[in-house]
Structure formats: C-alpha cells, structure tokens
C-alpha cells in the first residue's frame, strides 16, 4: 500500500510562525458575546451555531483546517490515505486526557462515530460511505469506506465530528445523560458555570496536552439578546469579542472606528456562508428559466454588497463560494442590467402575476436587503408581495415549498460534496427541511455529476466534474445567487491570535492571548 502521508505539520508550523510573531502572554479573561443562548453545550447532540461556538472550546475533533482548508493536526497527529482512496488511517496524539482525567483513546473515536450517526444529521450524511471503523491499538484508528469519498478528510472538525467520551455515554440514554449539563471534552477550556439567561463561564484546562496552551485563564460568554445592546456592551468595554453576526451590519463601521478595535473577516473559510434566493421551480413565473435569468439581471448585487453589507461580502458567481474547493468563475455571469431583465421577462411571457417574496427574518440587515431586492424587481416590472414571518414561520413556509422567492444563506463546509450538492440534486427534493433542494430543481445530468464528484478519485477528476456542474447550474439558474457573506469578528486589538483556522471563533480560543 502506497501511503501518501500528509505531513500537514509543516503547514501548521508555517501558520504558527506567522501567527506567533509576538510572544504570547499568559493569563487574563476574555468576555465574548453569544446569541442566541444555546440550548445545550453537548455538541454531539446540539448542532446550532451558538452551541458550536462555545463548545468548540470544550470539545475537539480529530483535525483542524487551515484558511486554505488544508487539514491540520487536532486530536490526530498524522493520517494517511490508501492508494485506492478507501482506507484512512489516523494516528492519535498520546497523553491526551478528558477533562475528568480519563485517557482519550481510539475506542473513544469508534464510539463517537456510532454516537454521531444516531444524533448528528450532518455527520450521518458525511459518514454514509463509511463501511467500518477499526482500532488496532489505542492510538490508531482505521476508517474503511465502501467507495472513495473525496471530501472525507474534510469532515473531522469539531462541529462536524466532535469526539465524545465513551466512558461517560456508553450504555446510557444519550439525550438524558446528566453529563450533557456539565460537558466533558478534551479541549483547552473546561465547563465551569452557566447562569441561564446571563452567562456561560469556561476555565482553562490545566492538563491540556499542548504545553503552554491555552494562554487565557477564563472565557465568559455573555447572553445579550438585543443587537443594539450588544454593540453598546462592546462600546462600553464590557465585552472584548463580538463574533461574526453579533451586531447589525450598519453598526460595524462605527464600532471598527473606535480606538483599539480590530476587525477580521477571516475564520469563515470552512463554512463559507453563501446567500441566494430560493426560486420555486415548480410553479408560477419562477418555474420559467428565462424569468429566473431575468431576476439575476434585475438585482443590483453590488448595491447590496456595498450599501446593505457595508462591503463585507463578495458578489457570488454561482453555486460554490470562491473559498471552497473546485470553485470556478468561468461560468455564465449576470451583471446588473435592468434592460436585459425586461427583455427576458418579455420572452418569458410574464404578465404581471404576483410573486411572493419571503425575507429572512434574521434582523434589520436582512429586512433592508429584501426591501432593496423588492425595489429592483419592481423597477423591471415584477409584481412583488413581501410576506412577513418569524423564524419558525419562515422555516415552515420554505420547508413546505409555500413561497415564490425566499432569501436564505447556507454553509458550504469547504467542499461541494458536503455543502453544495444537497441544494441541487433531485434525491434531496423532500418536504420538511428548509436546507435541501427546496427549489425543486431536477436535472439528471447534475444528479450524475454530483454523484460522480463525491466518489471520484483522485482530486483532479473531482475538479473536472465540479467545473462542469457549476457551468450547467449557472445557465439554468435554479436559485438566484447573491453574495458570499463575510461575518466580521470584531475584537479589542489587545485580543491576539483569536482566529487562526478556517473554522474561526468556532474552533475555540486555544491560541488566543491578551496583550495586557
């Protein structure tokens, strides 16, 4: 077996050289904002954003990822892939312990896989090609796949595949295990206290397996429900870190102009939040391809980028974000051109039928964006009715396909097989989820390309397949792609080394330190 050992340690050390240019200082407390309050911190059971953000400090995955999405050592120190792309062998770090001082071994990895297949919908999908897991010794794990699965090395970050302590959960009802309230992981910080409605407190793990880490003594996550109040809390110095999306976009320029405030759009490369308008391909004007293309020409996406998002975005060219693998911009593009939009509407035979537009009820930024799009569409003669909902109502309407045009954004998880295909292949047309092929687009060629792309080996074959898929999709316009979003992380400049990987703040505060 020819082993292609991926010595990503080199990458890690290069990254470390860059980020540790200043000598880190030990100690200190960071106050960050978390919103909404997470329902729980056991990331194997709860997968929402706030849970991952806090729990990324408590739990860990086998791998981490560089901003270029190259795998980095996590709980696994090295890994290799067999020549046929079906066997992945991971060597685990030695000397790693859980927060209750029990050793972390390969048995925990095998247990975690079984656990997550039952509780974690995304992990369940990612592990569909997994045939078996073997643990020849305490520090070796061998994953055997049914067939090659190109993105397999990309599924091991903490939110996607967190390691779960076997000694705590084995033989118990996972969902009611008391340990869910006092989570035990291997991460750099340990759970200490949670005053519901107020704050979550994490403290340094003194037995962390990397000497000298973490630098911080404690992290407080403050629960502040109102976006304006979160901005004030930062402005008055009560919090040091505003993770992406904590404040309304129109507050970002004001806050970043304050003294000793730094901002970064980095740390979202893995998630690559990609926004678009769902277009109902089944019925009404949006079922017509020419109408959908007209929408693309009618919407001024640069205006949305510059005015609504204050430049914190990039105009999307197609189904893949430019930060994920196999992206290409050599596709049919749609610049803002109302005249062209009007011509296409005429060709489509549009007679002024009412079109329902569903904004995303995530706050003022999204509301303003929907109003701008409505105006663009009305300018070319489309009769738009805005439908107001709250989040559960939006979820229900989209999941029930009860809309014509609906705003959304979804994560892409670094690879088209993980976060793109699900929105375009016909096997994902199923009522009840607002995150699958909600638009009802069905194209056998696209189905085949995404099926082939997931299992093709090596990478060069995958590249060809996904380039072709992107070209077909941008011609067909099953949805109207809008912007690649950048949720800025705003911090005091005294907070150093917070965002070091493609997972950003969700990857924990392991390397962060305070220059005080």
């Amino acid at each position: 077996m020819l082993k292609r050992v991926l010595l990503s340690l080199l990458v890690a050390s290069a990254l470390s050289t860059a980020t540790f240019a200043e000598e880190p200082k030990s100690g200190g407390v960071i106050n960050a904002v978390i919103q909404p309050e997470p329902p729980g911190l056991m990331v194997g059971l709860v997968q929402n954003g706030p849970t991952q953000m806090v729990a990324g400090n408590i739990y860990e995955g086998l791998l981490r990822y560089s901003p270029k999405l190259e795998p980095l050592p996590g709980l696994a120190e090295s890994w290799s892939v067999s020549e046929d792309g079906k066997i992945y062998t991971f060597k685990l770090r030695k000397g790693v312990t859980w927060h209750d001082n029990k050793p972390f071994t390969s048995a925990d990895v095998a247990f975690s896989i079984d656990f997550l297949k039952q509780t974690h919908p995304r992990a369940r999908g990612n592990l569909a090609q997994l045939d078996k897991v073997e643990t020849p010794d305490d520090y070796t794990v061998v994953f055997t796949l049914k067939q090659p699965f190109g993105p397999f090395l990309g599924i091991f970050e903490v939110g996607s595949l967190p390691m779960i302590p076997k000694h705590i959960y084995e033989g118990t009802d996972y969902k009611t295990n008391p340990a869910n309230n006092t989570p035990i992981g291997t991460g750099p910080f340990m759970f200490k206290e949670w005053q519901k409605g107020s704050f979550i407190r994490l403290v340094k793990n003194p037995n962390y397996y990397i000497k000298g880490l973490p630098h911080l003594d404690e992290i407080y996550w403050h629960v502040i429900p109102d976006a304006a109040a979160r901005a004030v809390a930062f402005e008055t110095g009560k919090v040091d870190v505003l993770p992406g999306g904590s404040v309304e976009n129109f507050d970002v320029p004001r806050l970043t102009k304050l003294k000793n405030v730094c901002v970064t759009g980095a740390g979202w490369e893995f998630f690559s939040p990609h926004s678009w308008l769902w277009l109902n391909n089944r019925q009404g004007p949006t079922a017509n391809k020419k109408f959908r293309q007209a929408l693309m020409y009618a919407i001024d996406r640069n205006f949305a980028k510059d005015v609504i998002w204050n430049g914190l975005a990039k105009v999307a060219t197609g189904p893949s974000a430019s930060t994920i693998k196999y992206y290409t911009d050599k596709v049919t593009t749609y610049d803002y051109d109302p005249a062209k939009a009007k011509a296409l509407l005429k060709e489509a035979g549009y007679k002024g039928e009412k079109v329902r537009l569903l904004p995303l009820p995530y706050g003022e930024t999204w509301q303003r964006w929907a109003e701008a799009v409505k105006q663009n569409l009305q300018d070319v003669g489309i009769n738009v009715e805005m439908i107001a909902t709250d989040v559960p109502g939006w979820n229900q309407k989209v999941a029930d396909w009860d809309y014509d045009i609906a705003f959304t954004y979804l994560y892409q998880y670094g690879d088209p097989a993980l976060g793109v295909g699900r929105n375009y292949i016909s096997s994902q047309i199923s009522k009840g989820s607002p995150f699958n092929n909600v638009e009802g687009y069905s194209n056998p060629e696209i189905d085949q390309l995404f099926a082939d792309g997931a299992t093709a080996f090596p990478d060069s074959k995958r590249q060809d397949i996904y380039l072709k898929a992107q070209k077909i999709l941008t011609d067909d316009v099953p949805v109207a792609w809008q912007l690649e979003l950048q949720f800025p992380t705003i911090t005091r400049c005294t907070v150093k080394n917070l965002v070091t990987t493609a997972i950003g703040v969700n990857d924990g505060f392991r390397d962060a330190w305070l220059d005080k």
Binding site: V29, N31, P36, E37, P39, G40, V46, Q47, N48, G49, P121, R122, R124, G125, K175, N180, N181, Q195, K196, G197, S198, F199, R201, E218, Y220, H222, V223, I224, P225, D226, A228, A229, V232, A233, E235, T236, K238, T389, D390, V391, P392, G393, W394, N395, Q396, K397, A399, L410, Y411, R422, S430, G432, S433, P434, F435, N436
Partner: protein, 323 residues
C-alpha cells in the same frame, strides 16, 4: 367574606382551564413547530432528525392527546419539559422569577409612588404651569415606545456618562458578596426599573389627576371646606382617598402582570427574567415553556384581581361583598 373568596377561587380554576385550552390551541395555530425550529438551527437537518424530535416531544401524537396530557400535567402541578432548554419548565420559571420580581416590583413601586405624587400635584395646581409640565411629561413617557426610551437611557447613562451598566443583572466575574453585591445589583437595576417605571408612572399620574379633579367637585368636599378643615387634610383624607379607587384598579391589573416580566425591558437590558424567557420561547415555538409562563401569569392575574377586590373593601367602606 370567606364564601366570597371561595366562590372567586372556584371561578378562577374554570377561567384558568379555559386559558390553558385556548392558549394551547392558539400556539399550535402559528406556523412552525419546535422540531422544525431546532432542525433549522442544526443547519443540515434530515427527515430522520425531524421525526426523532417530534417523537421525543410527543408532537407526533394527535392534538387532543397532546392537550389531554398537558392538562393532566397541569392538574398535578407539572408544567412539562422545555423542548429547547432541556429542563423542566417549573425549574426554568423558578430560576428566572427572582430577577423578574426584583425588576417589576421596583418598577411598580417607582411608578405608583411617582405617579400618585405627580398626579396629586397636577390636580392640586390644576391649570398652572406645574400642571401643564407634569401633563406634558406624562404624555411623553406614555406615548414614547419603551424600547426607544431604554436605548436612549443606555446611550446617555452608560455610553456617554459611563455612570451605569448597560446590561445584565450583576457584574459577571466580580463575585461581589454582601453589601457590595446589593450595590452592584442595584446599579444594574436602576436603568431597567426606571425605564419601565416611567411608562406606568405616566399612566398613574394621569389617572390620579383626573380622578382627583372629579372628586373635588363632589358635595362632601365642599362640606369639608365649609367645616373649616385645612386644605392639606381635605386633599389627603377626602379627595385623595376617594380618588385612589381607579388607581387601585389599575395597580391591581399591573400587579397581576408582574410575574410575566417585561419583554422589551428585559430584552434591551439583557435582564435574565421571565419576560425574555417567554419571548425566546415564542420565537423557538417552545410550546411547553410558553404555556407554562402563560399559566403562571394567568394565575397571578386572577390572584391579584381577587386581592384588588379585597383592597377595595379596605379603601372604600361603602363596598360590601355580595353574599
């Protein structure tokens, strides 16, 4: 009197049951359920996940079965389990109750004292510049949205002057004890309690003023004057006491809502109370939690209505309980 109380309590149980059934049906008419919200938050749900959640929450059962189970639980004082918070509802409400009561009772006292004081002054000096000033101020506080007043107060006292904290119940991480803790909580309480109190203060002031001016015209006030009583005594003993009846009614209604907290105030000031819990439960379609808060609030409103009736008797000896 005991018979009166017993009758009212019996009626209260029926009203409470009706409220439970009505709210149960009303919440379920809103689009979206907790399973679809939690699946949404997971970001990549599948049908298995949604089905598992519905089974876990009992949402796969027919509606009458769900209602029967809920009412049966209420009868044994079991408010159920919060889908989202993964805790018993009663425990969640009990945890948030002290913060809510501290905020709402403080706001209640501020509003009642200031409202009656300003209302009395406005009535006493009716038609003067003092009356005009109080009436205009009361109108401003009554008409201005509470969240806007809250945000302006934060900008002024937290951001510009840096006098008071802008959010939370206490200084997190300071670990104050004893008197220092009381001072710390007090400092956090000033802005939310005053903001909330100002709105109700305006209501009480307007009500007290109108009621006092009304009472002043009655013959017994003229008689008191004719008897040669001092003006202060007339105002206090004859006018104010009689004028307070509608104020007591209003205060009774407000007191009943104290446990429900104040959604806007608690949200803007990140005050960890029941109002916020209710708001979040609504957005997350956390049926049991939302119903639990409704049940407790309804019970409090019914209890305070009864107490208000009893206070009437004490304030106005003319009122007798129907046998």
């Amino acid at each position: 009197m005991l018979s009166f109380i017993a009758q009212r309590l019996a009626k209260a149980v029926v009203v409470l049951l009706a409220i439970v059934v009505f709210n149960f049906m009303l919440i379920r008419m809103a689009p979206g359920d907790p399973a679809i919200v939690m699946a949404g938050e997971a970001g990549a749900s599948d049908q298995i996940f949604v089905t598992q959640l519905r089974e876990k929450f009992g949402l796969d059962q027919p509606l009458p079965v769900q209602l029967y189970r809920y009412v049966k639980g209420i009868a044994t004082l079991d408010l159920g389990f919060s889908f989202r918070q993964q805790m018993p509802v009663a425990q969640l409400i009990a945890e948030r109750l002290p913060a809510t009561l501290l905020l709402t009772v403080t706001a209640f006292v501020i509003s009642l004292l200031l409202g009656v004081l300003f209302g009395t002054l406005a009535a006493r000096f009716a038609g003067t510049w003092a009356d005009t000033a109080i009436t205009i101020l009361a109108l401003i506080f009554y008409a201005t949205p509470l969240f806007w007043v809250a945000l302006m107060a934060i900008l002024l006292f937290s951001v510009s002057m840096e006098w008071l904290p802008s959010f939370g119940y206490e200084t997190v991480g300071a670990n104050y004890t004893g008197f220092a803790h009381v001072l710390d909580v007090g400092a956090h309480l000033i802005l939310p309690a005053t903001t909330m109190g100002l709105f109700f203060m305006a209501t009480y002031a307007r009500m007290t003023r109108a009621s006092m001016l009304e009472v002043k015209r009655h013959d017994f006030v003229k008689t008191a004057r004719a008897k040669g009583l001092r003006d202060a005594v007339i105002q206090r003993r004859h006018v104010l006491r009689n004028a307070l009846l509608p104020v007591v009614t209003l205060a009774g209604l407000q007191a009943g809502t104290l446990v429900g907290g104040a959604v806007l105030t608690e949200t803007v000031f990140a005050w960890p109370g029941i109002g916020r819990l209710m708001y979040e439960a609504l957005l997350q379609r956390d049926y049991n939690l939302l119903l639990g808060v409704f049940v407790v609030c309804s019970a409090m409103v019914l209890a305070f209505n009864l107490i208000t009736d009893l206070i009437y008797r004490a304030v106005d000896p003319r009122i007798e309980f129907a046998s």
